[in-house]
């Protein structure tokens, strides 16, 4: 097996030894996060401290009339509060919204002494959001425009298994549970579905099920579904067997229940969306942790059919991850770099292209990305919704902060996840830690 260390690797090891022998040694990654925006982000050398550098904001929730901040010319309102971990939003053509409440229920197996520590960090980051209230269901939110007061959602589908992605194709609503895609008959305007769902296909889930959110979309004619299946580990530390058909986007034929892997090497792909009017699939991807505060940049990318994006063997093209053995130089050679860096550890989980008309023209066709926020970084990154302008179907310029104020003075009111654009052109944001759904509207059209 190829476990010998090459010359460059040895040099890095020696650097690591030197680094550890000096008690207070920097990470060597002192770069501005803005250098990691766009198509050619700075990729520093991996750095390591004795403990991973981490900071998780304490969750305090939203109190009184507290709201996130939006740019001048926009306003933001809570349209549903007191939810139980709302993770995703789907806008129906009649203006109704589907709110997907979702939690990961089963703990991961205890393989290493590190696991309980990581579980504690994850729990702290979510602040027990939603408490013991029922979750794992799809709610229907009909906006009554009742003078800015939050609406009352009704339960559309209950007793799901950590659902995340939904997509409506004709009169069929597909819901991606963590372990299967389900099909429900549903006509727009209905406030309930009849009967239990029918299974389309099983998806990889337990017993580990590390990255559990299954993002879902369909192509224009609804003949194919696309589902994101995140990895079972950070960098293959649970072995290759746990990663079968994971860290991939699947193409599913809903008629036959057959699937093929559409693209692979995407550690945790979410926000699957076709660019409006095109056949190009886009996704936001969470890259790996514990290589330093500025490594590896998370990204937004168009997904090329059949492409390999590196995980676990390499990142951002052909930068080899020193932790993964045996190495696969043959696969690394074929790895392609993604389109657009968002900077490191921002944890993008939601993506929506702006298809409305009520926002100013610069927003048209651009991408809104929900960044759930970092843990593996001394300075928090993400915890906001950013906007990336598009020209000719490609991202241009730096991301612009669009909805901020989720974290103040190191305390988290909420964390943005799923994003959608509703029929009126308003932007809808799911906040799973703040247990709120937010609606952003333009005050004036310019």
């Amino acid at each position: 097996m190829g476990v010998r260390t090459g010359g460059a690797g040895m040099k890095r090891h020696i650097a690591l030894v030197v680094c550890l022998s000096l008690a207070a040694c920097g990470t060597g990654q002192n770069i501005e996060k803005s250098t990691q925006y766009g198509p050619t982000p700075d990729i520093p050398e991996p750095s390591r401290t004795l403990l991973p550098q981490m900071k998780v904001a304490d969750v305090v929730g939203w109190s009184g009339g507290d709201k996130p901040t939006v740019p001048q010319g926009f306003r933001i309102d809570a349209i549903a509060t007191g939810l139980s971990s709302p993770r995703n939003i789907y806008a129906l053509p009649n203006g109704d919204l589907l709110v997907i409440e979702s939690k990961k229920d089963a703990p991961e197996p205890l393989e290493r002494p590190k696991r309980p520590v990581m579980a504690w960090i994850e729990k702290k980051a979510h602040g027990g959001s939603g408490g013991e209230r029922p979750s794992n269901r799809v709610l229907l939110l009909r906006h009554a425009d009742s003078g800015g007061k939050p609406d009352t959602p009704t339960v559309l589908i209950d007793h799901l298994n950590s659902p995340f992605g939904v997509v409506l194709v004709g009169d069929t609503l597909y819901v991606a549970d963590t372990d299967a895609i389900l099909r429900f008959p549903f006509k727009v305007g209905q406030t309930s579905v009849d009967g239990p769902g029918e299974k389309v296909i099983d998806l990889p889930a337990g017993p580990i099920n590390h990255h559990w959110t299954k993002s879902l979309t369909a192509n224009a004619d609804g003949s194919k579904l696309y589902v994101g299946v995140g990895s079972n580990s950070n960098a293959m530390e649970r072995g290759i067997e746990a990663e079968t058909n994971r860290a991939a986007i699947w193409e599913v034929d809903p008629a036959s229940g057959a699937f093929k892997v559409f693209a692979r090497g995407l550690r945790n792909p979410n926000g699957l969306t076709f660019y409006p009017g095109s056949s190009t699939l886009w996704a936001v991807v969470n890259e790996r942790d514990e290589l330093g505060p500025n490594l590896v940049p998370d990204y937004l990318t168009s997904v090329k059919p059949g492409a390999f994006y590196g995980w676990p063997y390499s990142y951002w093209g052909q930068h080899v991850d020193p932790r993964v053995r045996p190495q696969r130089s043959d696969l690394v050679k074929s790895a392609i770099a993604p389109d657009y860096g968002l900077s490191s550890h921002v944890a993008p989980l939601g993506l929506a292209f702006y298809t409305g008309n009520s926002f100013p023209s610069q927003f048209h066709g651009g991408a809104f990305v929900g960044e759930h926020g970092s843990w593996n970084r001394p300075e928090p990154n993400g915890y906001k919704l950013v906007f990336i302008r598009f020209e000719n179907g490609r991202p241009v310029g730096d991301p612009m902060d669009f909805v901020t104020g989720f974290v103040e003075d190191g305390k988290a009111h909420g964390r943005p996840v799923g994003v959608a654009v509703d029929r009126t052109g308003a932007l809808i944001v799911a906040d799973d830690v703040g247990n709120t759904v937010w609606r952003v509207t333009a005050e004036t059209k310019s």
């Binding site: 390591r48 290493r112 530390e237």
Partner: protein, 173 residues
């Protein structure tokens, strides 16, 4: 009738008449040492064995890249530290109870080597948290070896001075 309490509290002289009382009932601090010493001797081998085993599993991982060996190492080091911490406390009690002047050169060497092994293995436990190869190669396996050598050297001191300094009755030569 002279009681032990009288002697301890200074109400009765320590003379040849009542020396047998002293002989059979050592002072309180020595009694603590006589309880702590066997506890220490019970606990002390556990981390030594576990740290040596971690060297074996680290070498196995370095040679195979098979993650099971890495998991073994992580648990062995963690368990070694848990028992090592208890042993370290027992050793402190023994030293304080029997008095520093009874510890002797080999006794101090024993303590320093054992504590050094524990400190090295604390660092090693953190190094072993990395997700894969860099948890072991090269620093992890290096620290495992150094930690195990320190622990075994601590055992070695007992050949020169069979832990006499921790027993209640025996005095160092």
């Amino acid at each position: 009738m002279v009681t032990l309490r009288d002697i301890r509290d200074g109400h009765a002289p320590l003379s040849s008449d009542n020396a047998f009382v002293v002989e059979t009932m050592p002072p309180a601090s020595s009694r603590v040492a006589s309880v702590a010493a066997p506890i220490y001797l019970l606990l002390f081998p556990i981390p030594v064995v576990l740290f040596v085993a971690a060297v074996v599993t680290d070498v196995a991982y370095s040679a195979s890249a098979f993650l099971m060996w890495l998991h073994f190492s992580q648990w062995l080091i963690a368990a070694g530290l848990a028992f090592g911490a208890l042993a370290a406390i027992a050793l402190l009690v023994v030293v304080f109870a029997s008095g520093a002047n009874r510890v002797g050169t080999y006794g101090w060497s024993h303590l320093v080597l054992f504590y050094a092994a524990l400190i090295i293995e604390v660092f090693n436990a953190f190094i072993h948290t990395a997700d894969g190869w860099t948890a072991v190669v090269p620093i992890g396996v290096l620290l495992s070896i150094v930690g195990a050598i320190c622990a075994l050297a601590a055992v070695g001191t007992l050949f020169f001075m069979p832990i006499a300094w921790v027993s209640a009755r025996g005095a160092p030569a």
